[in-house]
């Protein structure tokens, strides 16, 4: 790889990012600009920002690698990503969120929930949950990006991590949400074009669509014994129903991430950045096309990488990557693609990491600043923009510290954990805020608390993938998990915690005081 060419491309890219960040800075005058991009963002920018924030290095490197192991069954995650993550999210959640957010003058997702249920406590708890849980998600994206920079530039990991963090911090702190969304639109465009080319070239390289699929289908007898015992029956087939492999694919990967997207604070705030539902209607097209390519194409390439590596060296993708899932896609790009594309793909990965991280830092910063500290000291006149900027700096520091502690093959898992926690904690209350006028303040508060508590319990004592390495269950009960009956130890915590959160919301609602009609009229003004 030519270092000069690589350096030149990266400098051009960073100059473009700097310019867009500066544009955001120039156009940011008020707290509304800093927190909500002035509520007048173009639908293309909104949709690309939503997509680029949603699709991080986790989706490309982590889930692309997962597709190399699990096969094409991951296409059902693409179905949910488009159907739930775009169609339902924009039309059934986004339109009401935009209008209600404006009616209630909400600038963040916790503030939206707090104002809807007339509870500062809900805003503070939600802000705290985001600030405690999101750094894990940010850390896996940050580490993914830094590891990639380390391997490409052959520089020390700590330098790569510092460099990566500082660039993102600069335009997030200075440009606010406008800076974040402008840069997201450029980064999303780079990702889209790269992933589009990647799949087309891969099919051509493997002899065409049908030939590639047939080649992969014929490899079913090469599934390692350890995997076929768990239910893996090939890379162009869904796992055996009710097998361990099936439960992990369906609950942890497809449902955990596919449903969790509806309750992502950094995505929900995007709905409040446009000035009318017309922008959201238009954004549905752009968002749908982007997610189709960004997830469907990389999942397919991940599965097909097995055929490429088998033709080249007689090994499976995971064997070539020495057992590290996160190294499969970078290894495939280096081995299968032309050199000029390696440079472009490197920009796509940088873009994927930066676009997601910038939104995570912005969301964590506003959560700790506007939602948490401002409400803890209500009598002090605190500058929203300043406190959010301080919050962003703290968020970056916490993410870096967590990042240093993480093990390998963690990118997809860390993402799924955060998506699951978000869904269990926020989705029932968020849905009720939009569609159930009867839901009460106390019920909403306890639903959030029970969602986070049930998630923490399931991760610590039931779901063996986390409970075993955490070791708390083993220390107290002398066994890695309390779930001794199949399949409870491998069912994703979202399927345990979210029903609890829903039940708590419904039951407590019927025993507590209704919210006043006057306030509900204000919330739903102009919403049909």
């Amino acid at each position: 790889m030519n270092t000069f060419t690589l350096g030149f491309i990266v400098v051009i890219y960073l100059l473009a990012i700097t310019y867009l960040g500066y544009l955001g800075y120039k156009k940011t005058k008020t707290a509304r600009d800093y927190l909500l991009a002035g509520r007048d963002i173009h639908p293309f920018v909104m949709a690309m920002s939503y997509g680029a924030t949603f699709i991080s290095t986790s989706a490309i490197i982590g889930f692309g690698g997962v597709a190399a192991i699990y096969g094409m069954g991951l296409i059902w995650l693409t179905v949910l990503n488009i159907l739930v993550g775009v169609f339902i999210a924009f039309i059934f959640f986004g339109r009401i969120t935009r209008k209600m957010g404006h009616n209630l003058d909400a600038h963040t997702f916790p503030e939206f929930l707090g104002n809807r249920f007339q509870s500062k406590r809900i805003q503070i708890i939600s802000g705290a949950v985001i600030f405690i849980a999101m750094p894990l998600y940010a850390a896996v994206v940050l580490i993914g990006g830094a590891r990639f920079i380390e391997s490409i530039f052959e520089i020390d990991f700590s330098i790569a991590l510092t460099f990566f963090s500082l660039i993102i911090a600069a335009y997030v702190i200075a440009g606010g949400l406008k800076g974040v969304m402008y840069t997201d639109a450029l980064q999303g465009s780079i990702m889209f074009l790269s992933l589009f080319f990647l799949l087309i070239y891969s099919y051509i390289n493997l002899g065409g669509v049908t030939a590639a699929h047939e080649g992969l289908t014929n490899m079913a007898n090469l599934v390692p014994e350890s995997l076929s015992a768990k239910g893996h029956i090939g890379w162009t087939a869904f796992p055996k129903i009710n097998s361990a492999w099936w439960w992990v694919l369906v609950t942890n990967i497809i449902l955990g991430v596919g449903i969790g997207v509806l309750a992502q604070p950094q995505l929900i705030v995007r709905f409040m950045t446009v000035k009318s539902n017309r922008e959201l209607n238009r954004a549905v097209i752009i968002g749908g096309v982007f997610i189709f390519v960004a997830t469907g194409f990389i999942f397919t390439v991940g599965a097909l990488s097995n055929l490429f590596f088998f033709n080249e060296s007689g090994e499976l993708a995971i064997q070539v990557a020495k057992g590290n899932i996160d190294l499969i896609i970078p290894g495939y790009i280096r081995a299968a693609m032309p050199e000029w594309f390696v440079y472009i793909f490197m920009l796509a990965l940088l873009s994927a990491g930066m676009s997601t991280l910038s939104s995570q830092f912005h969301t964590m910063g506003t959560s700790i600043g506007r939602d948490f500290i401002e409400n803890l000291f209500p009598k002090k006149k605190i500058n929203s923009m300043l406190i959010s900027k301080i919050g962003i700096i703290i968020a970056i520091g916490v993410s870096i510290i967590i990042g240093y502690q993480l093990p390998g093959s963690i990118i997809a898992r860390g993402t799924a954990i955060f998506f699951g926690i978000s869904a269990a904690t926020f989705l029932p209350v968020y849905f009720a805020a939009l569609y159930w006028k009867r839901a009460t303040k106390k019920a909403a508060t306890w639903s959030i608390v029970s969602g986070i508590a049930a998630s923490a319990f399931a991760l610590t004592f039931l779901h063996v993938k986390e409970s075993a390495p955490l070791g708390i269950c083993d220390a107290i009960f002398g066994q890695p998990t309390l779930a001794t009956k199949f399949p409870w130890m491998i069912i994703d915590p979202i399927l345990i915690a979210m029903p609890i959160s829903i039940i708590v919301l419904v039951v407590i609602t019927f025993f507590t005081k209704k919210i006043s009609e006057e306030h509900l009229d204000k919330c739903y003004k102009g919403i049909k």
Partner: protein, 39 residues
């Protein structure tokens, strides 16, 4: 179908394409709608 024998997989691809078409059709039909609640 296209070298894939498992219906669960090719139905998945079909559903992804149908979902994409639904997004495009919805966006086109409502391209100019939604300005009524846009100072």
């Amino acid at each position: 179908m296209f070298g894939i024998n498992d219906p669960a997989i090719y139905l998945g691809y079909l559903m992804a394409i149908i979902s994409l078409i639904a997004c495009i059709v919805y966006g086109i039909i409502n391209w100019n709608k939604g300005m009524e609640d846009s100072e």
